[in-house]
Subunit: 209 residues, 4 copies
DNA sequence: CATGAATGAGCGTTCATTCAT
DNA sequence: GATGAATGAACGCTCATTCAT
């Protein structure tokens, strides 16, 4: 479940792919504002002008990187008939949340640089924030709310405002990811156990009664 | 308890205060890299050269803003005889965590711009990250570990690695703050209830058994 | 004899040539430190950024001007089989020194601005001084020493340490050039006679006995 | 003979002396244009403003250093009744030139930093050059011409235009000083012998016949 | 008389972007 | 489509000089 059928990079020329790859690397390491287009060009092995042939501005390049990332991040929740999935595959909230968290953690782990750019740049670019709230807060929150209410109705989750449930769930999950991969990547982590504990904490915190 | 007796800004000239204030505003809004010194000067109503009389470089200006913030952030945990406080004032973990969270939330709410700069700039400045891990991870984590173990020994918290307890606690708390004040500041929030719910979630998640 | 087959400026773009020309003019008149890059750009009729596309720093621009000058200055002494030349063309030291001096005077006269930059900037730039001693003192002094010894062996020059002979010879020659073209260029000079007298003084001063 | 009764530094305050000393050191090492007033102030141990209390501009500070140097440099030739000295003490040109050269070499050796500033800055400051030609070329050249003619009349020097004699003499002498103390100060020099040879070369080059 | 904070013009350099080839 | 030379505005920072204390 929750596999992704996203295909991008398909209509990109070889040079474009190199530009994107170089930009991702630099943006994630030094930030958008501190990365120069000439640096990207050099790293990508193309001429400076080539970047601007494909992307009108430096910012457009950033958006062309971040926007698909945001879409992919919430992809599993955009599945058309998610409720069917829920009923069939995940009778218990615990199973659903476990699957979802493991799936998203795997995804973010594999796309850590993109994730990094996303959270680093959102504060500085109103368009990004807008896109984010529009995609996530509106489309996805609605979905998530339904899901939460679904399990609340089944008596599997505490009766708390769904938005609060969503918030603490995401906080817990992203808190793990940021600690694990961005803040203390060099500490020793027993990932399996740590995820297990995190989910356990979340489940207990959200259990009814 | 946990009041702060930090006094800074006291030996600063009038111009220096204006520079700091202008820098905080701009850094928090546009980020360090995207803020120009000329812009800070204009906003502060001083000549550009004046900035550099007080701060050798733009980066030094940033550090002079962020470093004290970091110290103040963890101040309540640097109290000399914290254990006495714990025994006397907070026999129950719940009371302690409630007091601590409310206190720190109040502090961060009052210093939201500084908090914003801190979390926005840490990824881009190795010195900052270093200072952070040095101050927080080493000094404070040790303290927090003792506290957690203290309440674990009393049987008030689940037997989980203290680092994990710390992580989920901070995630929950910072997740609230970031959602509330940075991501969705314009949504309607019933702060009192929301904090109450958040602490409740945390307590249940960490309760033994 | 002693013609030069040096060709530079050949792979330079039009703009680069203009930058070099403007830089030479300004550096020689006001000195390197007192010449601004914006001034050079204006004089060259290019944008200031263009200078830095071709020369990473202002100093690199200086070096790109001075280094070839130094090479050309000593070029006649780097001829592969100089001894053959000496034996065939200049049996007498007087003929050699006359030819050499006239040749170098002509060269410096035609490159007075470059010569000026060279002697004006050497004191302030260790790299230049190093390059100078390396090229001149080592490579050329060895050559000159051999030549002096060659004519001393023939009994045509006084038996004095070759280094001293070289020093007084160069002093006499450069003293003329500096007086003539840099210190008192507006006095009336009978160049031919003055050079004749200078060589005569030199020859007598160095004659054996 | 040729002792100097120059007294300067007499009406200078302690701070002023320190400023002058610091300026001399920096100007001679890095050049006037590349030396900042703040650097001089720091080295002198005074406030930046103090420099400008004593010297209206940075350039005035330079001139206050160089002008007296120039005066002292030619002092021995400004003696009122130089001819009496010549007749009494130096019947032979050789004795005169030897005494003069040794005296001036000693003086310059003792004031090498000032000498360095003088020759380094003359090219860049029209006022300096003017002062130089006015003092040297007019006042002193006249004197020197008389002296040369005096010895030419006695048949002790070659019949050459006095200006040429002066030029080659100064070139020879300054050539030694510059080689010895500025270009190759770290080579091994047998000063006594080298001066002896230099004077010998000069005498032979200028001898009649 | 000495101070040093303040100034603002100007510095060398980098930048995103354009455009002729 | 790709290039890279060219641009000029803007950058962080330094400077000589002023002036209230």
């Amino acid at each position: 479940m929750f596999e992704e059928f996203v295909n991008d990079e398909e209509e990109l020329t070889e040079k474009q792919k190199k530009i994107i790859a170089a930009a991702i690397e630099s943006f994630s390491e030094k930030g958008f504002a501190a990365t120069s287009t000439s640096e990207i060009a050099k790293k990508a092995g193309v001429a400076e002008g080539t970047i601007f042939r494909h992307y009108k501005t430096k910012k457009e390049l950033l958006l062309s990187i971040v926007a698909p990332m945001m879409a992919k991040l919430v992809a599993p929740l955009v599945i058309k008939d998610l409720n069917k999935v829920l009923n069939q595959d995940y009778e218990r909230f615990e199973d659903f949340i476990k699957a979802m968290i493991e799936n998203r953690i795997k995804f973010l782990k594999n796309n850590m640089q993109l994730f990094r750019i996303l959270i680093q740049e959102i504060p500085f670019h109103p368009e990004l924030k807008e896109q984010f709230t529009e995609h996530i807060a509106v489309k996805i929150f609605d979905r998530l709310r339904q899901i939460i209410e679904h399990y609340q109705a089944k008596g599997q989750i505490i009766k708390m405002p769904p938005d609060t449930v969503i918030r603490v769930t995401l906080s817990t999950m992203l808190g793990y990811l940021i600690s694990r991969y961005l803040l203390l990547p060099e500490a020793e982590w027993d990932d399996e156990a740590e995820i297990e504990r995190t989910v356990q904490f979340l489940m207990k915190g959200l259990s009814p009664e």
